[in-house]
Symmetry: C2
């Protein structure tokens, strides 16, 4: 087949691991549909149902008429037509942030987006103005962040994460180093709660120090918080960076994929930073993001927003209240996984893992290289899927660790998956001994 | 208020007319909600209703189970979870293209997008690989195209449009000129059917010559077709460029905003071009676009796609059949507008207009400058909104013309709008005489 175009003539990101790795992981999952997936980060789906969709839609429709006083024509137009670029559930988002997070922001500072991914994309597009701009990101880093940055020709420089969630000394070093090279570090991306993929969280003191450092270094923080509502058991929910942010240092990235419905593809960004124009006028960063959004997706599907809006209304805008059952399921699964790891690998062996205080992910460290070839063998020969941690580092170096996810499985599947993983690990350890002997 | 950020430190497109003009037009419309809008390009809304939404959703659900044989768990997952990057209604899109347009493409060549805007954005991102890349676009040009290109640092060079829809001699000149400057013209953007904003269409012979020229000059064509289903009366629907394209020269951009529902935000791109990788493998351009999409919006809302899918299924995937009432309304309005212009401005006066064979838009040429200040005065003093044609040219030069839209008004509103426009024109002509005398 003669090609019509050459890949090398297209945007260079298309041949970059940040974009191809997601594809590879999806392909492996599709090739082995019967494997137990401890890889998928998708949310628990047992509680979704179609009747709920219809109910949420109707609920939001009533809200437009009864609470907002829209006429039948206006309701009609809000649901069916092109709409406000910044969204139609922005006021419910701010209520949710007030109720669940103690965050107070103006409705106008919110842009409702096509999932949190679009929110990240818009922010990175706004911040990347020149080839001197770079982004800092706590490592290991969600691959969707790295991929979006790559598409925007924005280099991402890692900041050490570590068990405390972020290494503040390293953050300062990275800022200074970038500036010494004549570069502009525009922001630091961080997931303070049960991070993907590390599972690590930053404690309250650490959050305050991070905000202080951001102020000292004149740096924005991009706070991504998809998992904060899922502490294990009755675990604490420390205040978000945004709740502690008195100086508009934090751009807050939110998702309804894990709390309401991934199929809606609704997320948002809170961008209350004041932007000064050369003519002396001052507006919100949210309005600049909306300008970008108008050229990327125009506006977020009104139907999808209506479903999310109805879900928020049903629980007085509290997602803490809305996700009681999900939280219980994730807690059960996380505990089951950690106990299962202990039972199979002991606490003195070469296999180690962290015990996150919540969220979807656990990182397992093993005494051998964990690459895509091993994942492929794991799927083919052992019937279990997981994610090589190397996918979350940008430098391509090998990492002796893998990520397990507990969000989309049952306890029985966790057991089956761990049995298979243990068999794979035993085989790898044997091979390794064999190699050492030869 | 002290700013936190400076606009001049953000992406330069944010201060560019291509992005600010859309904002300005929206603001004027919001400031004068009681003005008659001959500006809005949104579709006719009388036939939308909520019951239809629920019906379409259920219809698509049955399709997954009964036609595609999905198990209840699979149906559930398709509707509620993260989904296939290229979409879940791709097979219905290709059926629609076969039924209505005589276009035969593989399901895998389709990427379902968040409206046609995302489709454009993905294609431009893929094609813009180096600072030497430029895009050609038939002028006047839809401002969403120009804005997306600006966000991707991709210069847009105009190609003369004219009454035949595209000036092929000028297209060749522009290609050669760009190449002589060391630039790479990656594609030419064109709307062959009832273009926005010109209303012009390209006849069949012109389409064939355009394809020949694209082959001779080794150029891709980006065919955007939001209005093709709306010829006035029993008017012809000439084959799309894609239907005539035997050499995969055409990337086809589709929208369901005007045919099904703007509030769904569902569009698509057909990209069957073969892309050769350095390792010798060959894949589809659609797969490269999907990689980009995974980092922009992940996937298009399954709920929104389900509604569009149900609408397609209800009419055997024919949108020609689904839009009989809409087509009649647009035809009635277009004829009413053209007759109303003739009645008010005569056929020998200084005010002239084109008579498009279909679509939403008519261009009115007047013997005085038409700028944003005039629009503001028109809204404030005369209560009528329209769009200055200067917004659709990228060079900022004044244009003595305005765009009228017939899609979202009644005949009575058209009459009222035209009366007011005639009063504004009379006033401008008087002022002009006054100025000439002074």
């Amino acid at each position: 087949m003669t090609p019509d175009l050459r890949l090398t003539d297209l945007h260079p990101a298309l041949d970059d691991p940040a974009l191809t790795s997601m594809n590879f992981l999806n392909e492996v999952a599709q090739r082995y549909p019967d494997a137990v997936s401890l890889a998928a980060g998708r949310p628990y789906e047992e509680f979704f149902d179609v009747a709920t969709l219809h109910r949420h839609l109707d609920r939001f429709r009533r809200h437009l008429a009864e609470d907002l006083g829209q006429s039948p024509t206006q309701v009609h137009r809000t649901l069916f037509q092109y709409g406000r670029t910044k969204g139609i559930v922005h006021h419910l988002v701010t209520r949710n942030l007030a109720v669940d997070e103690g965050i107070t922001v103006d409705d106008e500072a919110v842009v409702v987006t096509v999932g949190c991914q679009e929110a990240m994309f818009l922010v990175l597009r706004a911040l990347r103005a020149t080839p001197r701009d770079v982004l800092l990101a706590v490592a290991p880093t969600y691959v969707g962040l790295t991929g979006a940055a790559r598409l925007l020709d924005l280099p991402v420089r890692p900041v050490a994460g570590g068990p405390a969630g972020v290494d503040l000394a390293d953050l300062r070093v990275q800022v200074h180093r970038a500036r010494a090279e004549g570069l502009r570090p525009r922001a630091c991306y961080v997931m303070p709660d049960f991070a993907n993929p590390s599972g690590a969280s930053i404690d309250v003191a650490g959050r305050r120090r991070l905000l202080d450092l951001a102020a000292e270094e004149d740096l924005l923080l991009l706070e991504d918080n998809p998992y904060g509502l899922f502490p294990a058991g009755d675990g604490d929910r420390p205040p978000t960076l945004k709740a502690l942010d008195t100086a508009r240092r934090v751009v807050y990235l939110g998702s309804f994929a894990k709390t309401v419905l991934p199929g809606a593809r609704v997320g948002y960004v809170v961008a209350d930073q004041r932007v000064g124009a050369p003519d002396g006028t001052v507006g919100l960063l949210a309005d600049q993001l909306a300008k970008i959004k108008s050229m990327v997706t125009v506006n977020t599907s009104a139907l999808a927003q209506a479903v999310v809006g109805g879900a928020l209304l049903e629980h007085g805008c509290s997602l803490v209240a809305a996700t009681v059952r999900e939280r219980a399921a994730y807690t059960r699964n996380l505990r089951h996984l950690v106990a299962g790891l202990a039972r199979r690998f002991g606490d003195a062996g070469p296999v180690r893992w962290n015990v996150p205080a919540g969220g979807f992910f656990v990182v397992v460290t093993v005494p051998f290289g964990v690459d895509d070839a091993l994942l492929d063998r794991s799927a083919r020969e052992y019937g279990v899927l997981w994610t090589p941690m190397a996918h979350f580092y940008d430098d391509g170096a090998p990492v002796d660790a893998l990520r397990l996810s507990v969000s989309a499985v049952t306890p029985a599947e966790i057991d089956r998956g761990l049995d298979r993983l243990a068999a794979l690990v035993a085989d790898e350890l044997t091979r390794r001994v064999g190699t050492a002997v030869r």
